[in-house]
Symmetry: C2
Subunit: 517 residues, 2 copies
């Protein structure tokens, strides 16, 4: 059963992509140009709190996968062996021959919102154009990679919002979905985490991995008769300039912090500067105030205090609020304590607890027939669920203060830049229209060209560049949109021309539907 | 930035495992035998509903990873390049030399609950014994692999419970955490899903992948002027004996089902038997009754009706309940309709929505010092969170009807088999004790030996065998334990001797703790 490589290449897809591809082959439309858009319909709703924006991520790993994935002999053999109910081969020889020869993503072009950018519903994260069959087969892997990383970058941005200036460490490796953890770490680092405990992936991303020690180290020292103090001393001797001690194995304030201080004093005498302590249980706000007091009194006012234990953005926020209201009574200046705090976030970040999947979809929006592009539409119960048809551009509008005020989807042939007035239509509510004068706003096109017929025409940004993009984008959001709970809803609008096209197509499809029967 | 292989080998771990390993090396205890146990503390609680048992999974992939993971030159170089705050190397040469030579999992022995077995809190899923440093480094990958697969096998078992005899298909690839999807598919197939849409992983598991087609195929045909009917015909011509049609692109009852029936009739005339339809939106209970009526009237009473669209165990249960109460009024025999249903489950299964991480932990429970094993304990706020110390065996007790009545953790040197009476102590509540006479119960040892000093001494069961084990184990549970909502709490007990050891150690550790300061 152990041949996992087979499941990581181009067969990392859903069976129906292949069965559909063969239907396209039979219809002779498998190499016909098609246009697919990938977008999500709503922001993550974590139940007790909600996102008002997302952070795009996952693009570069997807493109690397696309460049390596192909139907080799092994994959073709596996498909050839598949049988239908009556024992007949499911995939015919002529189709498999075509797939072996032409079944790569080399013919696809890809435009996308760069990684690290603020993303909103309905505005495509990626736009794929190329031969129908391969554009279809790409769907699953594209959704898999970008949905998850965007979900996690978004969650990390929320941790960043609530932690303020505090460092955020990603600790989720042991709580993730198997090797998916690495994608999660990558996305967390783009979206808002400063560092990660994930050793391998930190190195891949060019960052030093972060970590302290676990309870087991203290336990082992206790069995040896060295006690907690002995464990701390051994750690300090090994890492005299990087001593960060987990103080809650026995009793945080009764044993852990005093023992840590004893070791810190020993380090100080030898000319070293201790790094800090980690609290992993109990009332973290209370304990960090008390620990800070003890550390300050002992002459260590600058040591870090790392907090961990099922933190999420609201818990971090609550801890900071509590410190701001209580620390002074204990003689601690709240802001100086807050500056020392480091937040280690695991499960809640890597699984996006409360909203564990983004729900991005990949929809056919145009298709070439008789050498002409035709917009495609699929009617849903609500217009809000119906994808926006045709070739489009996505624009972001900034007001005079430089704040992002709306995203606008317009048809590619609309010269939005030169219009005197922009009509922003609500995507589904016919009564909601907003008109802005062109001179009130600055326009930015959101999508970058990434692949031109399979060739990368984009320079991949490094981690620091993606983080810079994210910081700048977030800073240009209205504070109401950045709120952790019940954020203000950002405007995503359709141009008047796109709006009309969409509703004409819906009406026409409704007409067609009865004609079909 | 694209060198992901580095993050998939032995560096697929947390940084602190390595920093601790070096401390053990400095203390000279890195090759000292240690005993770690991996267990979870509570059943998944999905908020609206709760699990009363788990299904173990993930063992074989973990062991394969262990056998391939090693500190090669690349890994050592990467560690050698790591620097502390002052620019000094974090890892010293002597430690790295040892790691390069001895840093594999070859010295570890592993006992485990086989995959597919029912699992309960506190009863170890895996028990690792071997040199301290490598047993410590294993922690992260072990938790990562087995926590996630056990979580998903458990969720799949719940879908199985609610679907009754109905087929369950796993559709989650696009909603998973990147490549972690493959582990999720594997676990779902062990735990209760019959098939998966995941092409590659189905093949790895030796199963035919399942799938139909997407809306995009119908949309493309509509652009071509063929309409929904033309799309269905193209599909039927390509797969005359495996025609399964998605009927909700335009209008389920007004267009989709009538068009499907038209195509089914054409197939029938040519001597083929249509497979069925898929409903992916709307009121699935209502639509499946109406669709069944139309299919029956047209002479297709056996075609499958595949349901999908954010299903979970409660939604499936609700659909079946509604069919049982409403179908007859529409002239449909409920049970014959239910037999045709197939449930496609995506997001809710692959992410275990509501409880996205198992929370299994890996705790040091014994350590060898001066050639003698010493039990280790870490005190927590509640005894329930304190790991059970020492070398233990796990037993399952079956009553005279063959029902599992309790799991019992006892010390290895206790001859439980020969006791006249078994005293079952509640792990944390001192007042709760249950005594069972030995003749009332049959005893089964739960753990199998998997690795003996790195060598596999276990024959890996195939998928069908793991599923058989799961079915038998689940069948031996009390129906109250299998309930989807507020299940009966299964008894996990400690033997009297283990209980006494645990509480003596806690008392001693509490004593030590103050002595330390």
């Amino acid at each position: 059963m152990h041949k996992p490589a087979l499941a990581q290449g181009i067969l990392f897809t859903d069976q129906y992509q292949l069965t559909m591809a063969q239907v396209y082959f039979r219809l002779g439309i498998h190499e016909q140009p098609a246009l697919f858009e990938h977008f999500f319909r709503s922001y993550p709703d974590y139940r007790r709190h909600q996102a008002g924006y997302c952070i795009s991520a996952g693009l570069e790993p997807l493109v690397h996968w696309m460049q390596e994935a192909a139907f080799g002999d092994t994959e073709i053999e596996q498909l050839r062996a598949q049988r239908g109910r009556t024992g007949e081969p499911l995939f015919a020889d002529d189709f498999l021959t075509w797939l072996r020869r032409s079944g790569s993503f080399d013919g696809l072009s890809l435009r996308a919102l760069p990684e690290g950018r603020v993303a909103h519903p309905h505005v495509p994260l990626t736009v794929v154009e190329g031969p129908m069959a391969m554009a279809q087969i790409l769907e699953t892997a594209l959704l898999n990679h970008i949905n998850y990383q965007t979900l996690i970058a978004t969650k990390a941005a929320r941790m960043r919002e609530s932690a303020g200036e505090g460092q955020v460490l990603e600790f989720g490796l042991r709580r993730a979905q198997d090797t998916g953890a690495n994608a999660g770490t990558r996305a967390a680092l783009i979206g808002g985490a400063d560092y990660s405990s994930n050793l391998g992936m930190s190195l891949v991303m060019g960052l030093p991995p972060k970590g302290t020690h676990a309870h087991s180290m203290v336990q082992a020292a206790m069995v040896l008769g060295l006690g907690e103090l002995g464990a701390f001393r051994a750690y300090a001797e090994t890492y005299p300039d990087d001593t960060l001690l987990l103080v809650d194995t026995v009793d945080t304030l009764g044993s852990g912090v005093p023992n840590a201080i004893k070791v810190f004093e020993e380090l100080k005498r030898k000319g070293h500067r201790p790094l800090g302590i980690r609290l992993d249980s109990g009332d973290l706000a209370y304990l960090s105030i008390q620990a800070a007091k003890m550390l300050n009194d002992a002459g260590f006012p600058d040591t870090a205090i790392v907090l961990s234990n099922d933190l999420d953005e609201l818990v971090i926020w609550q801890i900071l609020t509590q410190i701001r209201s209580e620390a002074r009574q204990e003689g601690i200046e709240p802001e100086s304590l807050i500056k020392r705090l480091v937040f280690g976030v695991g499960t809640q970040l890597i699984t996006s607890t409360g909203y564990p999947a983004l729900g991005g979809v990949y929809k056919l929006v145009a298709f070439q027939h008789e050498s002409r592009w035709k917009p495609a539409v699929k009617i849903s119960d609500s217009p809000d669920k119906t994808a926006n048809p045709g070739h489009k551009r996505a624009w972001r509008l900034y007001d005079r203060r430089g704040r992002a005020t709306a995203d606008l989807l317009a048809l590619t042939d609309e010269v939005v830049e030169n219009m005197d007035e922009l009509v922003l239509r609500h995507p589904s509510d016919i009564t909601k229209t907003r008109t802005v004068s062109r001179e009130e706003v600055t326009l930015e096109q959101l999508h970058q060209e990434i692949l031109r017929e399979g060739r990368v025409v984009y320079e991949w940004p490094g981690l620091e560049e993606m983080r810079r993009v994210r910081r700048e984008d977030v800073a240009r959001l209205d504070p109401g949109v950045r709120r952790l709970i019940h954020p203000h809803i950002y405007h995503v609008s359709l141009s008047d021309a796109l709006w009309r096209l969409k509703y004409e197509l819906i009406a026409a499809a409704r007409g067609t539907s009865t004609g079909n029967v």
